[in-house]
């Protein structure tokens, strides 16, 4: 990120303004930049080493971790953490260095996301649509639209989503419409729920359909007067993801910013969105170990049956910590193994950034194979955490239950039971993966 801001609380507004200006710039600007070197039509590979990358963001992650319990207690929306991340350039972490980003590979990105999830699991989920939209643009062939959006993100723009509808008829149908014409402009109207991250965003990716039922994602400004963002998300977990209701009333949209499903090349986006959630869970796994250790270390009182002089010397307590640590290691390892496949898939693209669809099928199956282990180990750990010690672990002020609540909420986002079957079907019958866990339909 080229801007430097000394006032974090103002950074968001300033960066947003810059981003808005960039994103609404016309084709003229993007044409002007065409001569610059940049990766063409493919997500970048590893260009920086992880220690360097991590060193850049860890101070921000640490601030986020330090304030997480406070936010949880008061249900304070993480506007500040989002601003800190924006300021540190985290939103552009996947964008190639040549294009102004940090150039993290997919696996480096997911590893950073685990770290962010350890600090506060709300953050990776609320940025999921953001990173998804960035990844989609990175997957685009070279185009002015791609350039414009990458520049906007480099300049600090944050993207949220508005996809889910409730009770609107058949599965897979979309009641939110895009309509208009090139002369009078195009407009979007409709109501969305669970709009994760939208409340923090400069732009919103809206799931829409035209009058023929053709579906698309459209990127619109979150600041438009026709956009009403309501902070009415009331889940028991991931409470600060701002996943509320979004009402859109004739919100203007640049037709270039409508990305039709029908135009999509095969891609790994479904797997990508899912891996963001798995990385968030792995982050929770680490936080559980961290909090378990801290809780035991602070305990003076020993249960009367205990076999050690202090809690930390009690073999049965040590065993619980060891189990938590083993669970976290498993979740980390599985996410890392899945994440590495994104790098491999990107490495196998041809010069135009295109790849065999079979590669994406494989990636989708890989992420589904990863799902069960990550969910099971992290959920079990977040329950077992309390077995490190006495009843004081249930004090509401400690909010140690947030790990289970958050893990539980993230993990039901997509139905694991179908994923397992899907893997089996693929292995037995060579069936293509079902896709469609998250958003969109398979082409």
């Amino acid at each position: 990120m080229t801007q430097t801001q000394t006032e974090p609380t103002n950074a968001a507004a300033t960066a947003s303004a810059a981003a808005t200006a960039a994103a609404t710039a016309t084709a003229a600007a993007t044409t002007a930049s065409a001569a610059e070197p940049r990766s063409v039509g493919r997500p970048n590979s590893d260009v920086v080493d992880y220690a360097t990358l991590a060193a850049r963001f860890r101070p921000v992650f640490a601030r986020i971790a330090d304030t997480a319990v406070e936010r949880e207690r008061g249900r304070v929306l993480p506007h500040e953490p989002v601003a800190w991340l924006r300021e540190a350039g985290f939103g552009a972490v996947r964008i190639p260095v040549a294009d102004g980003g940090s150039g993290a590979s997919a696996s480096q990105f997911f590893e950073l996301l685990i770290e962010l999830g350890e600090a506060d699991s709300n953050l990776p989920q609320l940025l999921r649509a953001h990173f998804g939209m960035v990844e989609e643009r990175l997957n685009d062939l070279d185009s002015p639209v791609r350039d414009r959006w990458l520049r906007a993100v480099v300049d600090g723009a944050i993207i949220g989503n508005a996809v889910t509808e409730i009770g609107s008829g058949a599965l897979g149908a979309t009641a939110t419409t895009v309509s208009g014409d090139d002369e009078n402009g195009w407009f979007i109207s409709g109501t969305k729920h669970y709009s994760t991250g939208a409340i923090f965003a400069d732009y919103i990716a809206v799931g829409v359909a035209d009058d023929r039922g053709e579906r698309a994602f459209a990127l619109v400004s979150a600041r438009d007067a026709g956009v009403d963002l309501v902070d009415d998300w009331a889940g028991f977990g991931q409470r600060m993801t701002g996943s509320g209701t979004t009402v859109l009333e004739r919100v203007p949209v640049n037709p270039d910013d409508i990305f039709w499903y029908a135009d999509r090349a095969p891609n790994y986006m479904i797997a990508f969105y899912q891996t963001v959630l798995l990385a968030s869970l792995a982050g929770i796994g680490r936080a559980v170990v961290r909090d378990g250790i801290e809780f035991v270390r602070r305990r003076s009182r020993v249960f009367s049956h205990g076999s050690g002089a202090t809690a930390r010397e009690d073999p049965l307590v040590q065993q619980v910590i060891g189990q938590l640590s083993g669970a976290s290691f498993a979740a980390d390892s599985v996410v890392q193994a899945a994440a590495a496949q994104f790098d491999r898939a990107n490495g196998a693209r041809d010069a135009d950034g295109l790849a065999d669809a079979a590669l994406f099928d494989e990636l989708e199956i890989t992420v589904s194979r990863a799902h069960g282990t990550v969910v099971d180990t992290v959920l079990a750990a977040s329950t077992r955490l309390f077995e490190v010690g006495g009843a004081s672990s249930v004090d509401a002020a400690k909010t140690l239950d947030r790990h289970w609540r958050n893990a539980r909420t993230i993990s039901v986002h997509n139905p694991g039971i179908y994923k397992t079957r899907d893997v089996g079907d693929h292995l037995l019958n060579g069936s293509a993966p079902a896709y469609g866990w998250v958003v969109g339909v398979k082409k």
Partner: protein
């Protein structure tokens, strides 16, 4: 217990009188369920809830008829706790402890204990007490004029702030005897401390009790046991087994409540995934399979709890004839019930969301309360130590030494 199961056993038949009481408990449970979410959130002392129990006649239901109570055996009152616990495990917890004490003091057979039973039936009192006291020791009791002086921290007590009378275990400063006394919580010498703001069992009104130079009369001394350093007789130490089993009953009730609520949600709301082969979530084979697994596990726990209840009743009935070996055998059946009920209730209350779906995590359904309740309740004393106790008994034949937790 099997008539009340998720899979009721048609071969088990209960007398009409008991069926009446089950209906009473169901009615109370239904009322508690109606606003359990709001009450859980508000975290107030459960005064209205206790009035509901009182008004329904549940407080005296377990007191023998000869003392003016409902005369239900404890096997039956444990079912009332279970029925209520499915809807509101906090209130069931308070009621369960109340029944434990009233059953336990029936073994005292002193004029004072008989009078306490009579008074409780007549006044519909709610009793509470610290169940055990590992951290602060017990208050001391010493003679003072005609009466006694009780002093000290009495530890953590579920339901105490809303109780009419407290039981307190004290230690005689001179003789080192264990002495059970009653305390009027309205006395200025009694104070409650601590803020009960926890993640589960939020309505169980658990606070610490301090007795500051409390004077009591001889009539308030219910029972004087022997020198505590000489260990406890089986008769004296039966109460702790009763507490332990009450935890298992509450865990079971929570698991059952979770499955009931989950199934209701699945039937009403759960949608199949985009690419499922069925039209309704309730017909989805994967969902039904997990329900099958959970229901089966809960049935096993229920059957074991039923066995443990019967064994404990038998031990109570033995009175002074109970041997240490008999107590140990019953204790380990109860320990098994506690271990399995903890595991199953945690599994079911966390896993149910796989059966209901993403939208069921909305706070309006409060389906997380089951996990929060069992997670809190099950930390009363570490289940790892229960497993240890059980392993030692099975592998090495070591009987547990009676204490506050076994």
């Amino acid at each position: 217990m099997s008539t009340l199961d998720l899979l009721p056993d048609p071969s088990a038949v209960e007398p009409a009188e008991y069926l009446h009481w089950f209906d009473v408990a169901r009615g109370v449970a239904e009322r508690l369920r109606a606003d359990v979410v709001e009450r859980d959130r508000a975290n107030e002392l459960p005064r209205a809830e206790v009035e509901l129990l009182r008004g329904a006649g549940l407080l005296e239901a377990g007191i023998p008829s000869e003392f003016g109570g409902g005369g239900l055996p404890w096997r039956v009152t444990s079912e009332l706790v279970r029925l209520i616990g499915r809807s509101d495990a906090s209130i069931a917890h308070i009621l369960g402890y109340h029944y434990v004490w009233l059953r336990y003091i029936q073994t005292f057979e002193t004029p004072q204990s008989r009078r306490a039973l009579r008074d409780t039936a007549a006044n519909r009192w709610l009793w509470a007490s610290p169940g055990s006291n590992r951290a602060v020791g017990y208050p001391t009791i010493s003679s003072r004029g005609d009466g006694h002086l009780v002093h000290g921290d009495s530890g953590f007590a579920t339901g105490a702030p809303v109780a009419d009378r407290l039981f307190s275990i004290t230690i005689d400063a001179q003789t080192n005897e264990m002495v059970v006394v009653t305390v009027d919580p309205a006395s200025p010498a009694v104070s409650f401390t601590g803020e009960w703001d926890v993640l589960g069992q939020r309505l169980s009104a658990s606070m610490s009790i301090t007795l500051d130079q409390l004077t009591i009369t001889g009539a308030e001394v219910l029972k004087r046991f022997g020198d505590v350093s000489l260990g406890q007789t089986p008769r004296q130490s039966v109460g702790v087994l009763h507490f332990q089993l009450t935890f298992a009953i509450l865990h079971l009730a929570i698991a059952e409540g979770a499955l009931d609520e989950a199934a209701a949600y699945t039937r009403e709301h759960t949608r199949p995934a985009l690419h499922s082969t069925v039209q309704r979530g309730r017909d989805e084979p994967f969902i039904l399979n997990t329900y099958g697994e959970y229901v089966a596990s809960v049935q096993a726990v229920s059957a074991l709890v039923e066995r443990a209840v019967g064994a404990l009743e038998w031990l109570y009935a033995l009175g002074d004839d109970a041997t240490a070996a008999q107590r140990a055998s019953v204790a380990e059946i109860i320990a098994s019930a506690k271990v399995t009920s903890t595991e199953v209730a945690l599994t079911v209350s966390s896993g149910l969301f796989e059966l209901t779906g993403a939208r069921s995590t909305a706070t309006q359904f409060a389906l997380d309360r089951f996990w929060r309740n069992v997670r809190t309740l099950s930390l009363h004393d570490p289940v790892a130590y229960k497993r240890d106790e059980l392993g030692r008994f099975f592998v090495n034949g070591e009987a547990p030494v009676p204490s506050g937790y076994r």
